[in-house]
């Protein structure tokens, strides 16, 4: 194995590659998260609604996405979906970082389906009598949700959502299979060019762990500051 020389990967061109990969990973995280959370809320509410069609849609959405590996999602959106687009749209896509767009779509849908389930069970755990009380006062379904249930559900739902965010962060690494130049892709590139396996993968692992640590710290802090208040 020889001696390890971390300066090889922490300076010069290799460093530039790794940093750009890290930044892209963070951007993937942010973009996917911002798409996933609202989508998840809508799907969760669908599954909780009294309208059968909406409930069915929600169930199909969640089960259809969760039971397929993220890698397969990525492959589908990048290799198959563009074929379904009309030619001008397809060309636009390929001109505009198709691999990033497809990665974000796959990540957002995949994370979103898990988050939808966490939101759904969080809302359900707010006692059913709360909704009854709100409805008895005269609030409609959506208003009861907004004013009584969701504020209570918020505290319950945030910890599992933060845990899903952690998963989302780690899952950005899978975008490498469709050529997205995020951290994992760049790490492989650095390793191939420098033959420094331990150093390049070591630095990348530390980068992933650092963000993971930050996300976990947010979770712990939130639970301390906003503990769930049950009666």
């Amino acid at each position: 194995m020889g001696q390890f020389d971390f300066s090889v990967v922490t300076t010069g061109e290799f460093r530039t590659w790794l940093v750009s990969g890290f930044l892209l990973s963070l951007q993937l995280l942010a973009a996917s998260w911002l798409l996933a959370v609202p989508m998840a809320t809508v799907v969760a509410l669908c599954r909780l609604s009294s309208v059968g069609v909406l409930r069915g849609f929600g169930a199909v959405f969640v089960e259809g996405i969760r039971n397929v590996p993220l890698l397969v999602h990525m492959m589908f959106w990048y290799f198959a979906m563009p074929e379904l687009l009309p030619e001008p749209a397809r060309n636009w896509l390929y001109d505009h970082d198709a691999e990033v767009v497809c990665a974000v779509i796959a990540l957002a849908l995949y994370s979103g389906s898990y988050m939808a389930e966490d939101i759904r069970s969080g809302i359900r755990s707010v006692s059913a009598t709360q909704i009854e009380a709100a409805r008895a006062l005269g609030f409609g379904f959506l208003a009861a949700m907004r004013r009584v249930v969701l504020p209570q559900a918020f505290r319950i739902v945030v910890p599992p959502l933060i845990s899903q965010t952690l998963n989302l962060w780690k899952n950005t690494s899978i975008a490498t299979v469709i050529g997205t130049a995020e951290l994992m892709y760049q790490t492989q590139k650095v390793e191939t060019n420098s033959f420094r396996g331990v150093e390049s993968f070591g630095v990348a692992t530390l980068a992933y762990l650092t963000v993971s640590l930050v996300i976990t710290a947010v979770a712990v802090g939130f639970q301390r500051r906003f503990p769930v208040r049950a009666i």
Binding site: N67, V72, A80, L166, E191, G197
Partner: protein, 222 residues
């Protein structure tokens, strides 16, 4: 498209076998099952270490688990891929690499499942067993672990579903599991990517959804 199905169906299901190593869906299931079987003892040992009274055991293990859980699985696969040959002294096959990586990664997650299962057995059970005169080991073996396993069964099946999905990462190191096969077929057929990748997605869906249902049924039964 139906010609693709006929020509490539068998390849999809079992890979190059018998003209080569096992592949396709069969390999996916074999790898997933083996990895979970290996991950169980890892998980149990880690869980026992986590609830141990000795700090010198508890802290390093808790630290290791946090590190493994904060790292992407793909990274763990690469670590295994590059460094298993150095550790074992010989070239490690893709199957073995994935197997070890999955066993370690899932072992760290299973440790949590096992720990919750063991701590979910009421304290009164341990007290009753100890009051009869059973020692720590006998109490664990005959009273706590059997009850813990029953509690854990639905979670274990869910973990199996997760492991099956994780086997798809073998694609990246060239393992001929079902996603790899699908992309090989796609590169030969070229013109039907939608059909091929939808078929791949459907395969996983049927497999995983079916197992998840089983987990639910087991949860109801116990």
């Amino acid at each position: 498209m139906s010609e693709s199905l006929a020509t490539y169906g068998l390849y999809f299901l079992i890979g190059q076998y018998p003209n080569g190593p096992l592949g396709g869906l069969a390999l996916t299931i074999l790898l997933g099952a083996s990895a979970l079987v290996l991950a169980m003892p890892v998980g149990i040992l880690l869980a026992l270490a986590r609830i141990s009274d000795w700090r010198v055991v508890r802290w390093p293990v808790t630290g290791m688990i946090y590190i493994v859980r904060g790292t992407p699985l793909l990274m763990v696969v690469f670590w295994a891929y590059f460094f298993l040959p150095a550790v074992t002294g010989k070239k490690t096959g893709q199957f073995t690499t994935m197997l070890i990586a999955l066993a370690i990664f899932n072992g760290a997650y299973l440790a949590e499942v096992v720990r919750a299962g063991i701590q979910g057995v009421p304290r009164g059970q341990t007290e009753a067993a100890r009051s009869l005169g059973l020692n720590y080991g006998q109490t664990l073996r005959r009273i706590v672990v059997p009850q813990a396993l029953r509690n854990m069964l639905p979670s274990l099946v869910n973990q199996f579903v997760t492991t099956l999905k994780e086997t798809s990462l073998g694609y990246i190191i060239g393992l001929q599991e079902v996603a790899f096969i699908a992309s090989q077929v796609n590169s030969q057929v070229i013109v039907h990517p939608v059909a091929i990748y939808t078929a791949l997605a459907l395969t996983f869906f049927v497999l995983c959804f079916g197992l998840a249902r089983l987990a639910g049924w087991l949860g109801v039964r116990t």
